[in-house]
Symmetry: C2
Subunit: 257 residues, 2 copies
């Protein structure tokens, strides 16, 4: 028998349907778990792609309905983006941090620094380029609702993360990040623990919510074969108090603005 | 029987000894795998904490031997850091990007943007504050050596990542990143694949090397109970051509310098 020091398992659930506005995401997840004969274990973390939460919340914007203002027209002229899309992005945005052709890097109202405020035109129904999907209104609240519903149905306790794929300033490629969280530790402060030489560890705040989201994102594909929900099992990371907002560095501590 | 759509497993290996300069990391990993009766599977990705690679390479700097130059003295005066430590950091650095008290954010010679060029004073032997451990000289080469030795011993094919915990500009906490890689896909370009509506996906380069490192980092603790090697199993991510360097965004594309 192999003897592992620690281990985790992650898996995706087959058979989730295309999500539509008004759908109950937790009910869809539960039905898919039951159909696939998958039983959640206490301590499991359910990682949900933000896109299906956003679709259930009906966060679509039809660009035909958007009247771009002067600021949107100005950024559109600079970047070459559709001014109506820019208007939709600015509506989600506190400030524009950087731009280049076809890209606006902004601070989202919830503090996330990301391209185009997370507004997405892929994997949504509608005529090419005429419809965008914004991020969920409050991913921590969405996570809390899904957690409560799954715990009511199966017992729990569980953690829930709402994850997105987000680009980085200095690294190539997107990685999974936890925008929302409920019931799960997102930031583990291991300062004060002793290292192997008995000295106090110094810089030791670990963004484990983002690491769990990244692990799940290895299975949550973005392409047609994708499945939007993964379960990460085997970690001891439940928390009653932490949220996705705890992963956002306050702008007062930001050295790169 | 539960039916998962996709799944992965990750585990750490017990019983790895404290690593010393000159040690053969791949041999230590193999001996620990054998002792724990763990058999690698073809396609497994072995994630090795940079710190043990660095220790095996003897990348220690005794600060008593360091003579700080004028630039190091100037940054030390600004930041309040030990000028000898700053000298060691600058020796690894292309340019200093930002600073605040007790922190230098630099571009490491290999392109990584990180605090203090990754120089580390925790979990190393020696008098408090008098010795630092630099990052491995060439983590891609280290990964290739470990991969070759493990494949010679067990067959393979395997992927190997050299991982570190690195802070982010806009997020709280460190996450695992892949500094070095051999045999494994680090950057997956899924542009050109079709989404569920049959449209081409647009921004779809995924930093899967970093996501695998993050997943492994959930198990590779930094504190005393830590185990420095994890195996991630169940992914189809082998590649003969990609490396850790592929995850570094060229500074010409950096909007945040």
């Amino acid at each position: 028998m192999p003897r592992y020091a620690q281990s985790l398992a992650a898996f995706t659930i087959p058979g989730l349907p295309e999500v539509r506005p008004g759908d109950d995401v937790a009910a869809l997840i539960g039905d898919a778990l039951d159909a696939a004969d998958i039983q959640l274990k206490p301590g499991d973390v359910i990682v949900v792609a933000q896109k299906i939460v956003s679709k259930a919340e009906g966060r679509y914007v039809d660009l035909a309905d958007v009247q771009p203002g002067a600021e949107a027209e100005a950024w559109a002229a600079k970047t070459g983006k559709d001014p109506r899309l820019v208007e939709a992005i600015l509506g989600e945005t506190t400030s524009v941090l950087r731009w280049r052709p076809n890209l606006l890097v902004v601070e989202h109202k919830r503090g996330w620094v990301m391209a185009n405020a997370g507004a997405d035109q892929s994997n949504i129904e509608g005529r090419e380029g005429e419809r965008v999907l914004l991020l969920p209104v409050d991913p921590d609240a969405s996570a809390a609702r899904i957690r409560a519903a799954l715990e009511a149905r199966y017992g729990g306790p569980y953690g829930v993360l709402i994850a997105d794929s987000v680009g980085r300033a200095w690294r190539v490629g997107t990685v999974g990040l936890a925008l929302g969280a409920a019931g799960v530790q997102t930031v583990a402060d291991i300062r004060g623990q002793l290292d192997r030489q008995g000295r106090e560890l110094k810089v030791s705040i670990v963004g484990i919510g983002d690491e769990i989201a990244a692990a799940a994102n290895l299975l949550i594909g973005e392409a047609a074969e994708g499945t939007p929900v993964a379960v990460v099992s085997g970690l001891k990371v439940l928390s009653e108090t932490q949220t996705g907002a705890d992963l956002v560095r306050p702008s007062s501590e930001d050295l790169f603005r």
